[in-house]
């Protein structure tokens, strides 16, 4: 690496995944960062860079999984922990402790939604191919699109309505708004029919999504090659069969 960057991000180089929440925060803040695994292997990047991190290359506090952020002597993994760490440094969270706790709580709730989204195409095992768990994926997705997405979106829509209508935390953009944008983008990619159906009940959320998309640095990032396209190795996947008809059991 020619010039040392302030932040080094280690994440899978071919997907947005959970790393995207960190990338969006770094991009919106105009931070000086390197997405290490996207460098060529010959330049110290690629999968080998990631595997070295998971084997302890960055010190004794070995992460369980990417994303991992390093800055100076700090090494931190787990998306919500990375964003809590970065938030104050990047000016993406209010100063008071209560608001920071609130941001963290909302980020963890979004993380739960992201994890549940992953389960829609991998309800049996992350180590199996989607093709080996399609019937289970269809059942899971039936419930996810009809029960879980409406529940989560209803919750966040109500929070916007109860606040200033434009921000989830405080009265300025926070990393939670950026993450909400990413979740809405991802869900619209994965479950377009469901999301169109819910649009009347997610008006404020969709306005937030458009505002974030149009922010100059976010817009610049989305138009750049740094933004990886959605794809079917990622958390949000376009499998039309998962928006199909009923395959559920009794609901309780």
């Amino acid at each position: 690496m020619s010039s040392p960057k302030t932040y080094a991000l280690y994440y899978w180089p071919e997907i947005q995944g959970r790393g995207e929440f960190v990338r969006l925060a770094l991009e919106e803040a105009g931070a000086d960062y390197l997405d290490v695994a996207r460098l060529p292997v010959s330049a110290g990047g690629g999968y080998p860079a990631l595997f070295r991190v998971l084997k302890g290359r960055l010190g004794p506090r070995v992460p369980f999984a990417p994303p991992v952020l390093r800055t100076g002597r700090v090494v931190v993994a787990q998306t919500a922990a990375i964003l809590r760490f970065l938030g104050p440094r990047l000016g993406l969270v209010p100063r008071d402790e209560a608001a920071r706790l609130w941001a963290d709580q909302l980020q963890l709730t979004l993380a739960d939604l992201v994890a549940e989204t992953h389960e829609t195409h991998h309800p049996v095992a992350a180590n199996l191919y989607f093709e080996d768990q399609r019937p289970e994926a269809r059942r899971r997705s039936w419930h996810f699109t009809r029960e879980r997405i409406p529940k989560y979106l209803g919750y966040f829509e109500r929070l916007l309505a109860a606040g200033d209508g434009r921000h989830l935390v405080g009265r300025r953009l926070s990393y939670v708004d950026l993450s909400m944008f990413q979740v809405l983008e991802g869900l619209a990619y994965a479950f377009p029919r469901t999301m169109r159906g819910l649009a009347p009940r997610a008006r404020r959320l969709n306005e937030l999504r458009e505002r974030v998309r149009e922010r100059p640095r976010v817009a610049g990032y989305l138009a750049s090659p740094r933004r990886l396209p959605f794809n079917e190795d990622d958390v949000f996947r376009s499998y039309p069969e998962l928006e199909g008809k009923r395959l559920g059991g009794r609901s309780r």
Copy 2:
């Protein structure tokens, strides 16, 4: 309530669940707390107390789900966020920032393991009964017991080996050790055969588990009626069929 307590915990009154990680921290610290929903409805407890919290009774920062902790004007939900908040106040995390980040990261990793455990009996939908998703639960559990539990336990066992051998964070008991204890107890209840098989590879973890169990306040708590028994409405459930034989697909 006759005398106001320092901490009020709001969690489902009939399960250990995610609330148990908070209860263990409060108990080990000898904190002055009230487990509100375990009071009779006539005394302001029970499910109605929980539902009021989820409807905004504690203020505009409405939680998505229990557990919820209130102290003074602070209201915080999401287990890992609650423990990060409580850790320094209860003396259950080291003082330096890097160690606190590390504790948070490990707690979030344990939270992922707990969520995956829940998926073993609810791989299709949390809103369906287990009986309506048994084939899927058996497939999921086959992979969970053979791939996921060994991966997680191997990770934490290596961390103990790389540290002082006795603590996951620093050189004193932290809330992460308490949570590790709870996860090991729960997995041993839910998947006894798997955990017996893994014991030789989890020697330090099992020693940690015994040390935590024998701490005077933890021991007192476990022997008290405040500790709810494991049961089949909880995250960790004893369903012997989920430790059965192979029902998987191709592993990749």
